[in-house]
């Protein structure tokens, strides 16, 4: 392509995007002389260059638009119709530019329709000529400022910049290698030049990084126009506000967050904001607000998208999660609002009841979550029903080179980005900090709170699946969004600047990893994704029990990994078992304390009455002595299952389970060589649904 033409295309695209933004702003502030001056100058430049390059269609369109804007400058009132018309003209110009880029010549066609409208509007007599006239001073001021900046910057091809980054990355790797070598070999003569090399490399890395930085406003350029169009299409007046558009971040990251941000703004306008009538009824101003703000926060960029719409509907999300089988009613009762709101980040959870042309096209917040997670970012939600929703994304400023902690689990090394590490805690049995267990869940007491832990070894299924993990090692206290948790590793080496390399598509589906890197000693290791690890909490252990409680026979048969079972005996029949994870407590009460009440039994338990039911209709309750029972609770309700004897707790595969039609029995499986009935707790719980009022 002709060099001249290419430059023109690049410049024209940039100019037109700016004009889009500025026009929308100008429509709201018709007295903003600076804004109008900028628009005028950009359109004028495009027109001038078109004439020069022999592009008559573009020149004619730009000329007509310029004439109309000239009238604005002379004091013609700015109407919404006029702005819409100019925006339409800009769209036509963009279409022609796209064709021009493909075929290197202007496409055939006529623009007389638009030109006639533009001219017609420009001919209208100015109703109010007393409007503030343009201040010529402002125009000249901006122009001089612009030309000064032009002298200090040059255009660099993105590929050149990318290549520079790759080379610097290689340099960093080589430097790391040298440092690693010198650590083993005490060569005093090497120390000084090596230190110098290290310093220069760091400086170079920093400069190249800075060259790649761009203001985030670039990703927002199309947003004012988008919101304006949506506002018109949906009939919802919206005030759009942008803050911190000059906050800088790596251009690679910028490219990756452009779509997620657009998607979220669109969501806010389409789903978040109510119709004007609805807003009036709720006592809110008719004109809604969407605000997008960016700021730097300790090595991260935080982008907030806030609206004052209806907020997330807890009940709707909960119902959807329930119908999709993601949680049980019991889980929901225990969950906080924040936990329930996070379900919107799970695939297939769009709660929009109607699919509009704008959103609800099958891609939703889960895609945003995936994209943000992939670049090591995190999403936090804050929503108050009826008052609006704020979504904040936290992303690293750069992806190319990050500081990471090198850790080890089961003999394998992994890199954990420093940015998500809050602190390191050494744990060992009998030490100041030690790992405690609540059932199978490892917990660490850290100052005044309980920190849920996850063993990296078991998360990644490394080594033999020993029931008890080694109790000594390090807990890496990690924060993702508002959630804190600890990752248990065997040892922690050192921190190293690592060059992040993307994973092959074949490995990209594993949420625990975000990339790979090469260490100073030449080893290739995986980079852990704290966000992905966070999703392992709650989801994996709950998923197993779900299948059992749901009472779905096929699900029970399909249970995959080992399940901890509480095995007990009741009546003459076969042994019975329930998943240990559903059991709240194993108790023994005085048999004399149990009183019959209708067809069930009651016992005084912890200052209240607890309903009891026999695990087997034929079993006999003891007359004296201590009666064993298994206590279950779902949220506030508590019930006891009367059994003859507790036998054992075993880990068993339920692969071969056979479904059963008997009420209260999920199916049968071989546990420790004996046929065992799997009891369906979900069947018993509702039998007590009326006891709360009675108790």
């Amino acid at each position: 392509m002709d060099e001249l033409l290419r430059d023109f295309l690049v410049e024209a695209h940039e100019s037109l995007d700016t004009v889009d933004t500025e026009l929308v702003r100008f429509e709201q502030e018709p007295n903003n002389a600076e804004s109008l001056a900028l628009i005028f100058r950009l359109v004028h430049t495009v027109k001038g260059t078109c004439g020069f390059l022999g592009l008559p269609r573009l020149a004619a369109l730009a000329h007509a638009a310029e004439s109309l804007m000239g009238k604005f400058r002379d004091g013609m009132p700015v109407t919404s119709d006029a702005v819409t018309l100019i925006l339409a003209t800009l769209d036509r110009i963009k279409d022609i530019l796209a064709e021009l880029e493909r075929h290197q010549s202007e496409p055939q066609g006529s623009d007389s329709d638009l030109i006639a409208q533009l001219d017609g509007m420009a001919q209208q007599p100015a109703a109010d000529t007393s409007a503030t006239p343009m201040e010529a001073a402002a125009l000249t001021a901006t122009q001089t400022q612009e030309s000064k900046a032009a002298g200090h910057s040059i255009r660099v091809n993105v590929d050149t910049l990318e290549h520079l980054m790759t080379v610097v990355s290689e340099l960093v790797l080589t430097r790391n290698q040298l440092v690693d070598l010198s650590r083993h070999r005490q060569e005093p003569a090497l120390q000084v030049p090596l230190q110098r090399l290290s310093q220069v490399t760091a400086e170079l890395q920093d400069s190249v990084m800075r060259a790649r930085m761009q203001p985030i406003g670039q990703a927002w350029q199309k947003l004012p126009r988008l919101v304006r169009d949506l506002s018109a299409e949906l009939g919802k007046p919206i005030d759009f506000e942008m803050q911190g558009a000059d906050t800088e971040l790596d251009r690679q990251v910028l490219d990756l967050i452009k779509d997620p941000i657009t998607h979220m703004v669109r969501n806010a306008a389409d789903h978040g904001i109510e119709r004007p009538a609805e807003r009036r009824a709720a006592g809110k101003p008719e004109k809604a607000r969407i605000r997008i703000a960016a700021r730097h926060e300790s090595g991260y960029l935080v982008v907030e998208i806030a609206d004052d719409g209806r907020g997330l509907d807890r009940a709707k999300i909960a119902a959807k999660a329930l119908s999709r089988g993601l949680v049980t009613q019991a889980d929901l009762a225990r969950m906080s609002d924040a936990q329930i709101q996070r379900f919107i980040l799970v695939p297939g959870m769009s709660t929009a009841s109607t699919v509009t042309s704008l959103s609800g096209r099958g891609v939703g917040m889960d895609v945003v979550q995936t994209n943000i997670g992939r670049i090591g970012g995190a999403i936090t939600l804050h929503s108050v029903q009826g008052h609006g929703c704020t979504i904040a994304i936290r992303i690293p400023l750069t992806l190319a080179i990050i500081s990471a902690l090198i850790v080890e689990a089961a003999g394998e090394r992994f890199a954990l980005p420093q940015a998500c590490v809050m602190e390191l805690v050494r744990v060992r049995p009998g030490g100041e900090h030690r790992i405690e267990y609540i059932k199978a869940a490892p917990i660490l007491r850290l100052r005044n709170r309980l920190l849920p832990l996850i063993h990296l070894r078991s998360l990644l299924r490394l080594g033999e699946d020993s029931a008890r993990q080694s109790e000594s090692g390090f807990v890496i206290v990690t924060r993702v969004g508002a959630e804190m948790f600890g990752i248990v590793v065997d040892s922690v080496f050192h921190a190293e600047d690592i060059v992040v390399k993307p994973l092959a598509s074949m490995l990209r589906h594993i949420p625990a990893f975000s990339g790979a890197t090469i260490l100073g000693d030449g080893a290739a290791i995986m980079i852990l994704n704290a966000d992905g690890i966070a999703t392992a909490f709650g989801s994996s252990p709950v998923a197993d029990t779900d299948a059992v409680i749901s009472g779905d026979e096929t699900a029970a048969v399909a249970l995959k990994p080992k399940t901890s079972l509480l095995v007990f005996r009741a009546g003459e029949g076969t042994r019975c078992a329930v998943p240990l994870s559903l059991v709240t407590r194993i108790e023994e009460v005085e048999a004399s304390a149990i009183t019959p009440s209708g067809d069930r039994y009651l016992v005084q338990y912890r200052g209240g009455l607890m309903p009891l039911i026999k695990a087997d209709a034929d079993m006999r309750i003891k007359d004296s002595g201590r009666q064993p029972l298994i206590v279950f609770s779902d949220g506030e309700r508590t019930m006891g299952l009367l059994v003859d004897a507790i036998i054992d707790i075993v880990d068993a595969h339920l692969d071969g389970a056979i479904a059963d039609a008997r009420p209260g029995v999920l199916g049968s499986a071989i546990v420790n060589g004996e046929t065992t009935d799997l009891i369906d707790i979900a069947h018993y719980m509702p039998l007590f649904s009326d006891t709360r009022s009675a108790a």
Binding site: L462, L503, M506, L507, H509, A516, A524
Partner: protein, 147 residues
């Protein structure tokens, strides 16, 4: 396949396989493979090859061949979809030229996992050579199902 194609021969579990030479970037000795936890069964791990990260595919597992991998495995480097892969094999043989005359369609009774990725079978004096289709071998979706 054109009339005369150059192919690289490799062996996995005494079976001869062929890869189109146009797809082969390099041949290298594997050492220090880092396993990738939770990855598909046929992913042997990642490896650092002169500063490049390569995803190593265990061809024996991928093709469901019997036997164990040799200690010092060889790998054939292949670029697919802008990503670098290494196919782990027992040994790398010669570059041979094949004309179309020795090619036969893939026999119907082949193991399904092998049949999916085979493009032809050649009758060679040394034995039967199975031509592999690199696209299908490394196709994410197909390989996920196979795993």
């Amino acid at each position: 396949m054109t009339a005369c194609d150059q192919i690289v021969t490799v062996t996995v579990g005494r079976q001869l396989f062929g890869l189109p030479i146009a797809r082969v970037q390099d041949v290298f000795k594997l050492h220090r493979i880092t396993p990738v936890p939770l990855a598909a069964e046929h992913v042997a791990g990642i490896v650092n090859l002169r500063g490049r990260l390569i995803t190593v595919i265990d061809l024996r597992r991928r093709l469901a061949m019997a036997g164990n991998n040799a200690d010092a495995g060889m790998a054939v480097g292949i670029e697919y979809g802008g990503e670098s892969y290494g196919l782990m094999v027992d040994a790398v043989g010669d570059v041979v030229s094949l004309d179309g005359t020795s090619a036969e369609p893939v026999p119907v009774n082949l193991d399904a996992r092998l049949k999916d990725v085979a493009s032809a079978v050649h009758r060679l004096p040394a034995g039967l050579l199975v031509m592999l289709d690199v696209e299908r071998l490394l196709d994410l979706k197909a390989s996920e199902w196979a795993a």
